[in-house]
């Protein structure tokens, strides 16, 4: 079994939070579809990896879940962002921006600009 890196796990959690933030309550498949659409193939092989992340976020109090009816009236479990989740999202977005900015700057550095 290949261990997922923390970055991937963290990225996935961030994507879940952002998706729920933008689209409101969604069931697991909806979240997976959405992430797939935006990120391309991150989840195309292992959609299932989403579920442990969702469970972990739920344990952390960032999301809450309830049974509900899907668009075609089937029973499905819907996840929604909690206030704690929103706060977590903000903090993580901030972190992420900072990190990417720094990394980007490093990657674009040319010898003559040093």
């Amino acid at each position: 079994m290949k261990q997922k890196t923390d970055v991937q796990q963290g990225t996935l959690a961030l994507m879940v939070l952002k998706t729920l933030d933008v689209l409101g309550p969604l069931h697991g498949y909806g979240i997976a579809r959405r992430i797939e659409q935006i990120s391309g193939d991150l989840l195309s092989v292992n959609q299932g990896t989403l579920y442990p992340v969702l469970l972990r976020l739920e344990h952390e109090g960032a999301v809450a879940s309830d049974w509900g009816a899907s668009e075609n009236n089937r029973r499905a479990r819907f996840y929604r962002l909690t206030r704690e989740g929103r706060r977590q999202l903000q903090a993580e977005v901030q972190d992420w921006r900072q990190t990417t900015e720094i990394v980007a700057r490093f990657l674009t550095v040319k010898p003559e600009s040093l």
Binding site: Y29, A32, Q47, Y51, E58, H59
Partner: protein
């Protein structure tokens, strides 16, 4: 915060046992449906759509496992699962479990019990403030290093000249008769310097402590013990400032000590404390005579000073005093300062440590047995273990499983052991009696239970780790193929090593126990120089305020009436009662061999009344006993013992020789010259006395100022049955004289033997236990090896080997193990033997006879244990054995 939330959620799941598995399954099912529908809409056939959905989802099992490890506490759950499994395994092999638990319970119970004593005696700090700065100081003669007490002038010089101590306090015991409050009672007292309480850092429960001025001549103040305050004064607070009568003198009560106050630690029954002013009498020289050594000294070191620094300073001061006062201090020319706890414990520290080591060895042997049992079980369980690892259990997982089994075993044994300790501790305490200071405070408390638990876990790891490591190395394929039966000799070598180690430890313990038993037997059967049976002893005081001038007459009348009591054959008195830890040592001058005052020899002294030797049944070897004719004004006489005669009058007739013992009769002109009128046999003064000591006797009638004689009565009936009549007799003469310490002579002897007895019984019990465990272990190993070799033996028999040969072969294997163990054990004993030196009497610590006997006993019991397996091996039916497998 997030991590905390997560932990709480896990804990909640763990406690409520909530499982999201079903919910997850439903979610996954929905997920797959959504995806399949999507695929169908994209134009796939339904089966293909479903297949692609499943592919896209990835491993459902992995997701479930990931989710599972996210919920609850997987490590704890795993351990619990292992534990559950372990308990089932242990329950299923109940015979093994029973043997292991009983073995462990005995080992851990014994260790916990001993530790409860160690805790109270060695580990607890003294009940004073900053006890680590408290020290005991004593003087000694550097030529024979035997410690001695201090005289007041020496103590005052020490106190004035030292720079090491915040406080230096003298103390010695004393006794009084408390009258005027109910019936007269005998009270034990300590006479101390004023600053006892500041030195200890304690305060009275009520009232105040002593002031410096209360050391002054004529002051009479007391602090009462809580117990005396309650029993004699009804816990009445108005007792403060009141006066009480102690042996006819008036004392003012200034305070009551707290209930838990104890000083000295070794005299827990002290009833009151008073200042050294009581020794400063106008007529006596108790406080001014540099030659009267009867004080102990305890000090509190100044902060930052070490015991060694204080020791150096006191040595210097004492050497200076010896030069300054050669007449009195030549034989007290050095000093020793040691930590108070060490001083309190003395030799008993060795005893306790020896017992602790012994009991630890027992546990080690017990662990060896269980390790061997487990190793045997591992061999039998190889198939199960191979199966588990074939099913994917990692090596760590298998080790964990087996270790949890051992720990479960040890915890069950440990809990049983601690319960055993609860039962055994009071028994051990009864055995110890007063022979070990502070032991009476022992009990199974939290600390002791903590120790028990620690020992439990350590032993669980100790006996579990090797079998677990061995088992985890099981090769899967061959084991599964052969059905788990194959012989690996390495494992047997391990088991043999354990057995050899156990036998060696058993030898060490049995040697120690054997020597103590031999020593105790010699103590019990030593010649005492008198007949202890049918002797009753008791004490009472004849205080000066009543009997100063009439003491001689009082005793004469009293003994006459005592001898007239029915059941009394003879009766007499002695200042120093044998077997009661009393001792007095006084110098004497020999005019034929004059020496400077400071170098005069000294010998044991006792004052006796006529008929003492007759009562004790001590032979008078030469000359005569004292009689009533040896009156105060008659010829001054003395009687010496045989050891004295041999040492100071070798080859001469001592009768008629003149000596001047330094024992004054309180008359002007100092001690008189005395004539030796008799020589008597040596009397043992203590059960644990190592040599015959020179001693001499003076007639009490010629030194009537000396108080007080103990009574010895030889009876024709059961001695203790006379107790009421002797009490009544004394009360009828003077109702204010309480009779104390009514004991038979065998009882006194038994009390004196309590420390050797306790050492012998405990070490004997541990050695017995060790031997039993070793024998059981050896039996187990031999039995197992025989069952393993059934086939080989069958082949041998089939090829024509005699049954006797097989029997010999098994016994030879066992003998080899035993012999190796015995040799190693003996060598180890010879190395460690000297620790027992102070605990042995009349037996050398390497006594060859005892050691030989111990080896024979171990070898015989060991061979006996190997006999049954050997018989079984010899009884193997070749055809059956070959058909096995």
């Amino acid at each position: 915060m997030r991590a905390l939330n997560r932990l709480f959620a896990r804990l909640r799941n763990f406690i409520t046992n909530r499982r999201i598995d079903r919910r997850l399954q439903e979610e996954i099912e929905q997920h797959l449906n959504f995806q399949a529908n999507e695929n169908i809409r994209a134009g796939m056939a339904p089966e293909e759509a479903r297949r692609q959905a499943v592919l896209k989802f990835g491993s459902v099992q992995t997701v479930r496992e990931d989710c599972h490890s996210e919920e609850g506490l997987p490590l704890v759950e795993g351990v619990l699962q292992d534990l559950h499994y372990a308990l089932r395994v242990l329950r299923n092999s109940s015979a093994f479990t029973l043997v292991a638990v009983v073995t462990l319970a005995l080992g851990i119970g014994a260790n916990t019990t001993v530790f409860s004593v160690v805790d109270a005696v060695l580990l607890r700090p003294l009940p004073y403030m900053h006890p680590e700065r408290l020290v005991e100081a004593e003087s000694f003669f550097d030529r024979n290093s035997s410690p001695s007490n201090l005289s007041y002038p020496d103590f005052f010089d020490w106190r004035a000249q030292n720079h090491s101590f915040e406080h230096l306090v003298s103390y010695h015991d004393n006794s009084y008769t408390l009258t005027g409050v109910g019936r007269a009672v005998y009270v034990g007292a300590q006479v101390v310097s004023w600053d006892l309480l500041p030195m200890l850092g304690l305060h009275p429960a009520i009232g105040r402590g002593f002031t410096p001025g209360e050391e002054k001549r004529g002051t009479r103040v007391v602090l009462l013990s809580h117990a005396l305050w309650q029993s004699q004064f009804g816990a009445d607070k108005t007792v403060l400032g009141q006066t009480i009568q102690l042996s006819g003198e008036t004392f003012t009560v200034i305070g009551v000590m707290p209930a838990n106050f104890r000083f000295p630690i070794t005299a827990p029954k002290t009833d009151l404390w008073t200042t050294l002013a009581v020794d400063d009498t106008p007529t006596g020289d108790g406080i001014t005579n540099r030659g009267m050594h009867y004080l102990n000294a305890m000090g509190r070191l100044k902060p930052g000073l070490t015991v060694e620094q204080a020791d150096q300073e006191m040595k210097a001061i004492t050497a200076r005093l010896a030069k300054q006062y050669p007449d009195t201090n030549t034989t007290h020319n050095s000093a020793r300062v040691e930590s108070e706890l060490d001083a309190v414990l003395g030799d008993t520290k060795t005893l306790i440590v020896v017992i602790l080591c012994a009991v630890a060895l027992v546990l080690l042997i017990a662990c060896g047995n269980i390790a061997n049992l487990l190793l045997a079980r591992v061999s039998d369980r190889r198939r199960e273990i191979a199966m588990r690892s074939a099913l994917g259990a990692s090596r760590v997982r298998i080790i964990r499983q087996l270790l949890i089994e051992s720990l479960a075993l040890s915890v069950v044994g440990g809990v049983t052991g601690c319960a055993l300790a609860f039962l055994c501790t009071p028994m051990v305490l009864r055995l110890i009696g007063d022979s070990v200071p502070r032991a009476a405070d022992a009990g199974v408390n939290l600390q002791v239970l903590g120790f028990g638990l620690t020992v439990t876990l350590i032993s669980g790891l100790l006996f579990g780790v090797v079998p677990a490591l061995k088992a985890s190395k099981t090769d899967v394929v061959p084991t599964l193929k052969t059905g788990g039966v194959s012989n690996i000799s390495g494992r047997d070598r391990m088991r043999s090593t354990v057995i050899v180690g156990q036998v060696a430890l058993g030898i060490v313990l049995s040697a120690g126990a054997g020597l103590l038993i031999s020593s105790f037997a010699k103590l019990m059967h030593q010649g005492l120089g008198f007949q202890p049976e049918h002797l009753l002893t008791f004490r009472f005081e004849t205080p000066d305020y009543r009997y100063k001038t009439t003491r001689e007459q009082f005793y004469r009348e009293y003994f006459e009436r005592l001898r007239a009591l029915p059941g009394v054959q003879s009766a007499s008195g002695t200042l120093v009662l044998p077997m009661s830890n009393d001792n007095a040592d006084v110098t004497f001058e020999n005019p034929e061999h004059p020496v400077p005052a400071g170098q005069r020899p000294s010998a044991d002294i006792s004052l006796i009344s006529p008929g003492y030797f007759n009562t004790m049944l001590v032979p008078i070897l030469k000359g005569r006993d004292f009689t009533d004719a040896d009156a105060p004004d008659a010829l001054q006489v003395m009687i010496i013992n045989q050891a004295f005669a041999e040492k100071y009058f070798p080859g001469e007739d001592p009768i008629g020789k003149k000596l001047k013992p330094g024992a004054g009769g309180g008359r002007p002109g100092g001690p008189p010259m005395r004539e030796v009128v008799g020589v008597v046999g040596n009397i043992r003064h203590s059960m644990t006395q190592r040599h015959e000591r020179p001693g001499y006797f003076l007639p009490a009638s010629q030194l009537p100022s000396w108080c007080c004689m103990a009574s010895v009565v030889r009876t024709s009936v059961d001695p203790i049955s006379l107790e009421p009549s002797v009490r009544q007799l004394v009360t009828s003469i003077d109702k204010d004289i309480p009779v104390t310490d009514v004991r038979t002579m065998p009882e006194l002897m038994s009390l004196q033997l309590s420390q050797p007895r306790f050492a012998m019984v405990l070490l004997g019990a541990f050695a017995g236990l060790a031997l039993l465990l070793t024998v059981v272990g050896l039996y187990g190993v031999m039995m197992y090896s025989v069952s393993r070799r059934t086939r080989e033996i069958g082949v041998r028999l089939a090829l024509g080997a005699q049954r006797a040969t097989v029997l010999r072969m098994v016994l030879r294997d066992a003998s080899l193990l035993l012999a190796s163990g015995i040799v190693i054990g003996l060598v180890a004993w010879l190395g460690f033997a000297s620790v027992l030196k102070t605990m042995l009497y009349g037996t050398a610590e390497r006594d060859p006879l005892v050691l030989a006997a111990v080896c024979v006993v171990v070898a015989m019991t060991g061979l006996l244990a190997a006999w049954l397996p050997a018989l079984r091996a010899a009884a193997v039916e070749p055809m059956q054995a070959l058909r096995v497998d």
